[in-house]
Subunit: 600 residues, 2 copies
């Protein structure tokens, strides 16, 4: 009798795939995939983050890469049990390549591969010193004049950036820079992180005082040191600041506080950057081989140009500069914008006793936090998920295994469920005149985040204040100008204001490169973020992966890193391995380097 | 057919035990134990740390406690599988009492219980806010003038100890005070930790510079935040200092640095302490209900009185004051003592280029670190243990389940194995004149630690320096006096010295109470530490648990906490639950409060 368990079926097809890969037979391998199939590779096969769509793209990738990568031993992870749901079989896989070891996830439908995720987990001979490879700490034995751990750390702090050059310079020391810095340290890649703030974590501390993370704890872990079991679901900003600060210290990162990058240029002959930074008043020239922007996935603040901004007698701030409500008790505030920051700032101002008006210029996607946690994230990131054996690592990989091209198919039903559950809430918002949307295809929050990084609010209470009129709402009107005393709408109404907050979002991250390097280099890099979904603020053509994030760009030695805590944690793995491979001089043939279709 | 699996057999006897316990039948319960049996209870049944030896003691305890404790539902832990080895069956158990939930470990031999460990894990209605009970962090919704996390923390820091009194005051902020403080915070017990140093972790930082932990990482985790996978096996002192500092911060402890306790007295009427502390120059009077000494299990420094100490022209230091070797390059140093500190200090001095002589006054137990890790700790605390599914929590409980009375029976064979493995090494030491011992009954290091807290060195390299003569050794001689220029032995030899280091150990911890409260109170408490094993420095009678540690003492509201990192982690659980129960006014009938047999 045939053994038709999911395990046996997956073993059969993986066996065939492995045989084709080991024999370098791209055609035979591609023939094992469905017509509408997706192979997402994170660095293991492509030295890129790349989704191949359909057998032709898969075959082309394999033809280019098999020779150098020499994949082998692709098999089911012996520690996991495959599952079946409907006609889809799923399972965890392990494999090796010439240079590394990998892990992944496979879905098979009707005897052919539907989705395949392959990720590089470590480079052979350059494994991280953890578990049985952890360092001894004490050097047993004896050696005259040996240095202590503290002396070595102090020596490194003094020399790196001066007498010795870092291989990697990370500009920006928020969660992105810190998570990447930690992984690079473990991989033995000499790295400096520079940040303009006085302390690690100030990126969070200095924002408006009521801010808490909008993502829950299970989604937010950093690499190596997960939050403890008693950590709050939504971390208050100062608490995450303290965590980042301690993490930076105990992970022994070379983190330069109060340091601003002033200019950078690439020496193509030496293949190194010359980056001028100001470190607490002292000018230092750094010469890293690799330059990483981890300056915030949102890029530089977008402040709209409005007539009358020069005559307005009150204060004007971009949301990123807003210090919180304390100075505005009893004042009139107009907040322009209706996404996360706008809502949070309005609610905090109202709580403190300000008179607040939100000006909604275009529709906003709203999801209630509880509902999102339960329906949107609960299967992967929650106590429920943990109880089901879904560790953070598994959750990250399962999530990564869903191809961007068809992710909306998974997401739409979730958001339809949310819409139904909270129907009364949405009705109340609409009754107040609030303009709602669910993304252009109804796929909701996460795809809005991936496509444009904006256009939504995760409701943690501000919507009730809009509904009951505590936060005044103006929607469906454009802004004509600022007067001396307020904001004038296109129907002539004036909203009196002591303070105008522009919660008007951010530009593309290559804007940072324009400022630091040149507009020419920024244009060569092109737009950062977005998938090419041809939806608002994410113009086509379809690119299939986040533009320029965590992967080679068109500019040698220049990288972008960041995103939310989840992305900072997970994708820092792939970026750190790419950088380590280059440090070690390994062959890293990049497949399918993305063309630039948009410069901003 | 009878089901005679270990599970079935354990279920049978546990069923009988549970029935007897639920029916309040002490006699029937005791009859299920072997003649040479041991029931170790950590707070669950006795509100004490107590080992009952044999059926009579077990019956007496149950007769006293069953009425109040009302144990029930004692059963095998459904998530674990019992094992059999030889004629011993072993398994994890769960149970409840009137007030709490418990966990434990049982060993059965020939159909009767041989050892039983019962521990209290949580108090009903006062569970820690973790996992599904974790706090939300953000308070969704809206509330005018609500305080942020940071404002609340700042308010607490400003008020606690001034307008509000802590329930618990912990004197001493090393790993003991910090681990206990963290658990008390999670249990909602208002607590202040005072420490004389400028920063948490200075207890380690300020010791001699080559110091690393002698216990390995797997043994050293703090509660809630384990060390990451890449943490070194033997943590350098400054690195553990940084970890403790960050831990204190992120666990939100109320930790008063630069604060010395000056005096304390108990108001029996108000049932509270009046403790005068000096906080950075300001005198503050604290009025806690409970006072915990976590001032170091070693107590106050023992400095021998020798003739000529007043005429010696060089420096004299107790090992706890030794700053490390840097100031003594090229100097002559005599170190009196031959235990851990003496060896570490000698090796560091030799490395730095000092001329060092160690004076061994009595025999010392030496174990090589690698051998100890492998043979002594490897089954419970190692990568091997982790690979076998032995988590830190399990290791702690398995270790705690070995009754002190017969622990030497487990230990002796391990040390015989070590002696055999390192026979050449020991021979070389003896050839040099070094006086070796293995504890009075050959049971080695851990029992020496439990009995007297001294008398050993875990070799991390200094022994080779003794063997090759780099560290000069004088043994078998007493010290007659100090001269102006050195140390004079009882045979008249003079050892010239610029520095004399007294690595001569520490007194009993109740010495701290003598200084802070009164000699009378110190005498009522009696000796702290030791088991009453009637071996050197641990006089009888047999007491069966560490004297006065982590459990009620003869002085109301006064407690001792500490020990190595393992004990600070594990026993802080039981002490924190005892304190929480008292805060909540629960009935905590203490069984078998220990008599005082020795005052120091």
């Amino acid at each position: 009798m045939l053994d038709d368990t999911p395990t046996a079926q997956l073993e059969t097809i993986l066996g065939r795939l492995n045989e084709a890969l080991e024999q370098g037979d791209a055609k035979a391998a591609a023939a094992l995939f469905q017509a509408d199939s997706y192979w997402r590779d994170l660095v293991a096969f492509t030295w890129n983050l790349k989704t191949m769509e359909g057998p032709d793209e898969i075959r082309a990738m394999l033809e280019a890469q098999l020779g150098a990568q020499k994949p082998r031993d692709m098999r089911l992870d012996p520690n996991e049990t495959p599952t079946a749901s409907g006609d889809v079989l799923e399972g965890w896989i392990d494999f090796e390549t010439e240079t590394g070891r990998g892990h992944g996830y496979i879905r098979v439908k009707n005897g052919l591969i539907w989705t395949l995720l392959t990720t590089l987990t470590e480079i052979k001979g350059h494994e991280e010193p953890k578990g049985i490879r952890r360092p001894m700490g004490a050097e047993h034995g004896h050696d005259k004049h040996r240095k202590t751990w503290k002396e070595k750390r102090e020596h490194e702090s003094e020399e790196l950036g001066y007498s010795e050059q870092p291989y990697v310079l990370i500009i920006g020391g928020g969660q992105g820079g810190i998570a990447l810095g930690a992984r690079l340290r473990q991989l033995g890649v000499p790295t400096i992180i520079v940040d303009k703030h006085g302390r690690p974590g100030d990126q969070w501390r200095k924002r408006y005082k009521s801010l808490c993370l909008h993502d829950p704890v299970w989604y937010d872990h950093l690499p190596y040191i997960p939050f403890p079991d008693n950590w709050p679901v939504f971390t208050p900003k100062d608490k995450i600041g303290d965590w980042l600060e301690m993490y930076t210290k105990v992970m022994e990162l070379n983190y330069w506080t109060s340091t601003e990058a002033r200019s950078a240029k690439y020496d193509a002959e030496k293949k190194e950057w010359e980056v001028v930074v100001n470190r607490g008043g002292e000018e230092v020239v750094l010469r890293p081989k690799q330059l990483v922007f981890a300056t915030g996935m949102s890029g530089k603040a977008n402040v709209p140009t409005l007539p009358g901004q020069d005559v307005f007698k009150g204060e004007q701030q971009h949301s990123s500069e807003h210090p919180g409500p304390d100075a505005y008790v009893g004042k009139k505030v107009v907040v322009i914008g209706s996404n996360n920051s706008a809502h949070d700032i309005c609610a905090a101002l109202w709580e403190a006793g300000a008179d607040v008006t939100m000006v909604q210029r275009s529709s906003t996607h709203i999801v209630r936090s509880d509902t999102l946690m339960d329906i949107g994230l609960g299967d992967l990131y929650s106590e429920r998920a943990i109880a089901n054996g879904i560790t953070t690592r598994k959750a990250d990989l399962i999530f990564a295994s869903l191809p961007y091209k068809i992710m909306h198919e998974w997401q739409i039903p979730l958001y339809e469920k949310m819409k139904e559950r909270d129907a009364d809430f949405y009705q109340a918002l609409e009754d107040r005149g609030f303009l709602l949307d669910w993304g252009s295809d109804g796929s909701g929050l996460f795809l809005k985040y991936l496509r444009r990084g904006s256009g939504y609010y995760i409701d943690v209470g501000a919507c009730d204040l809009v509904i009951d009129g505590s936060i005044k709402l103006v929607s469906g009107h454009g802004i004509e100008r600022l007067s001396e005393t307020g904001v004038v709408l296109d129907d002539g109404t004036e909203l009196p204001a002591d303070l105008v907050v522009y919660a008007t979002g951010y530009g593309s991250m290559n804007g940072w490169a324009a400022d630091l390097i040149s507009q020419d280099v920024a244009d060569r890099i092109g737009k950062v973020w977005g998938l090419g979904s041809d939806t608002p603020k994410d113009p086509g053509p379809w690119e299939g992966e986040q533009r320029n994030m965590w992967k080679p760009t068109q500019v040698e030695g220049l990288w972008f890193h960041g995103g939310n805590l989840h992305q900072s944690r997970h994708y820092s793995q792939y970026l750190s391995l790419q950088l380590k491979a280059r440090l070690e001089g390994l062959d890293t043939p990049v497949y399918g380097l993305q063309d630039v279709h948009h410069t901003s």
